[in-house]
């Protein structure tokens, strides 16, 4: 049984979170999101003309999401270029963010989201989603709400929020459940799981994750306001 967390946090306590909106000059919108030692940056282009043309949709804009880890962001050097994992995460980011954006308002257009992991200590897809949602808002893309994301799970029998790499590799096994939450609809727009967990603990973990996402959502709104209050 996992009684005390490796870094001394409480089971329902996330790592320290920092974020900044508007960190890149060329992208229409950009943001940096850091949770513990995990750092993600996101850049957004659009809504703009959709390329290639054959992928245009007559009734809505198409969202494209790319997830990439810098080769040196992990302990072993990651091969450059998109692997299967990167492609799947790009796709689930699209699923996580799509509902928050008013894609119907921009037929035939495209919105591009690019995220890069600068430094990884688990929770990278969640950090990417948080950064991407901030960057979309910064780009002025019409949105219904901000999307927040965090991983929950079970480590050595205990339900915890925001797992570190060391916790994911716990000798007694760990279950990792990245989620994203859209407060406006009270719905999960990202939900993945791998490991082994009883349904009762799964419910507990998801409830814990939604609470965490609500806290992140407040911080995201604060970061956006800060960007515009100072200028």
């Amino acid at each position: 049984m996992y009684k005390k967390r490796f870094d001394g946090r409480k089971f329902d306590e996330m790592r320290p979170i920092e974020m900044e909106v508007g960190i890149l000059e060329q992208a229409d919108g950009s943001a940096r999101f850091q949770i513990g030692k995990t750092i993600a940056i996101a850049g957004v282009y659009g809504p703009k003309e959709m390329h290639p043309r054959r992928l245009r949709k007559p009734d809505r804009a198409v969202l494209k999401c790319k997830y990439n880890m810098l080769s040196f962001s992990v302990t072993d050097r990651k091969r450059m270029g998109p692997g299967r994992r990167d492609k799947e995460i790009g796709l689930v980011m699209n699923f996580a963010l799509g509902k928050s954006i008013m894609l119907d308002d921009f037929p035939k257009m495209g919105v591009e989201v690019h995220t890069e992991i600068i430094q990884a200590d688990s929770g990278t897809r969640c950090a990417s989603i948080c950064a991407a949602s901030l960057a979309l808002a910064h780009a002025g893309v019409p949105m219904r709400d901000i999307v927040s994301s965090v991983a929950v799970g079970e480590v050595g029998g205990s339900v915890v929020i925001d797992l570190t790499k060391k916790e994911e590799d716990h000798p007694d096994g760990a279950t990792d459940i990245p989620i994203a939450y859209l407060p406006k609809d009270d719905e999960l727009t990202l939900l993945q799981l791998d490991g082994k967990i009883k349904p009762a603990n799964l419910s507990k973990a998801i409830a814990l994750g939604i609470e965490g996402c609500k806290r992140i959502s407040d911080l995201q709104k604060k970061a956006l306001r800060k960007k515009y209050s100072s200028s």
Partner: protein, 262 residues
């Protein structure tokens, strides 16, 4: 125009649902279509199976080789899941390297098998850090009539459950074409259950016409008492209570489905 057709299809599906009926006329409104598993469908494979889920038709084959383990797991064998959706299965499929949705499908099937511990990877180790068994799980759709996620997972698990290692010589060179009597042990059967969300309503094991208008998808893979893998797909969301309901339904329905495996 697209929307008009879609809306008509959604209305029709919801109208049927109000009378506890599904478009494909399946026996159980809240169950899977008729599911058939056929074993040993390709003799040169170490194991193979064909699954029919309604009219969806998927064949999986296992090939086993020997190779080096991953550096961070020197005492574990390797399993690799690949999915191909060739044009034979649907006019909407194109030949060529797998795109994101195909990669997603393969990775969700992979996670169900891997995380459930169906295969003991430590038992696939021949010599630590040097030689391990590599199990290739290759899945081909032959007819796409909805719910390729579950059909692929069933086919993969069924093929694995009837897999024998190939013969090797004293230097561990694989003698393909000659099977040994050593069977691959399957410790538990992970069962995948996929749900489609259509206009706020949730349907298990969607058929093609239902998939065409679904806005959200949720796959739950479980063993007898545990959930091992989940994947939410498409841009719609699921509330926490909807997730609970899907997990409970998956636990229940998978008990029946597990009986189909010999």
């Amino acid at each position: 125009m697209i929307k008009l057709v879609d809306n008509a299809q959604v209305e029709f599906i919801l109208g049927l649902a109000a009378t506890k009926k599904r478009l494909d006329n399946r026996k159980n409104f809240e169950g899977f279509r008729e599911t058939q598993i056929e074993y040993d469908v390709s003799m040169n494979a170490e194991g193979s199976a064909r699954v029919k889920l309604g009219k969806t038709d998927v064949t999986a084959g296992i090939k086993i080789g020997i190779g080096e383990p991953f550096a961070d797991r020197p005492d574990e064998g390797v399993i690799i899941v690949n999915v191909e959706l060739p044009p034979i299965a649907s006019p909407n499929f194109e030949a060529g390297p797998p795109r994101e949705p195909t990669i997603e499908l393969a990775r969700v099937v992979d996670r169900g098998i891997r995380e459930s511990g169906a295969i003991d990877l430590k038992k696939l180790c021949i010599k630590e850090g040097e030689k391990v068994w590599i199990v290739y799980i290759d899945i081909y759709a032959l007819n796409h009539s909805g719910n390729l996620f579950d059909a692929s997972s069933f086919a993969a698990v069924a093929a694995l459950s009837k897999t024998f290692f190939p013969k090797v010589d004293k230097d561990y060179n694989v003698q393909y074409g000659e099977k040994s009597k050593k069977k691959l042990t399957i410790k538990r059967l992970p069962i995948s259950c996929t749900f489609a969300k259509i206009a706020g309503k949730i349907f298990i094991d969607p058929s093609l016409k239902e998939e065409e208008v679904m806005s959200g998808r949720l796959t739950v893979t479980c063993s007898e008492d545990m959930v091992h893998a989940m994947q939410k797909g498409l841009q719609d969301g699921f509330s926490a209570s909807e997730v609970d309901k899907c997990v409970a339904d998956a636990m229940k329905v998978s008990k029946e489905l597990r009986k189909l495996f010999k």
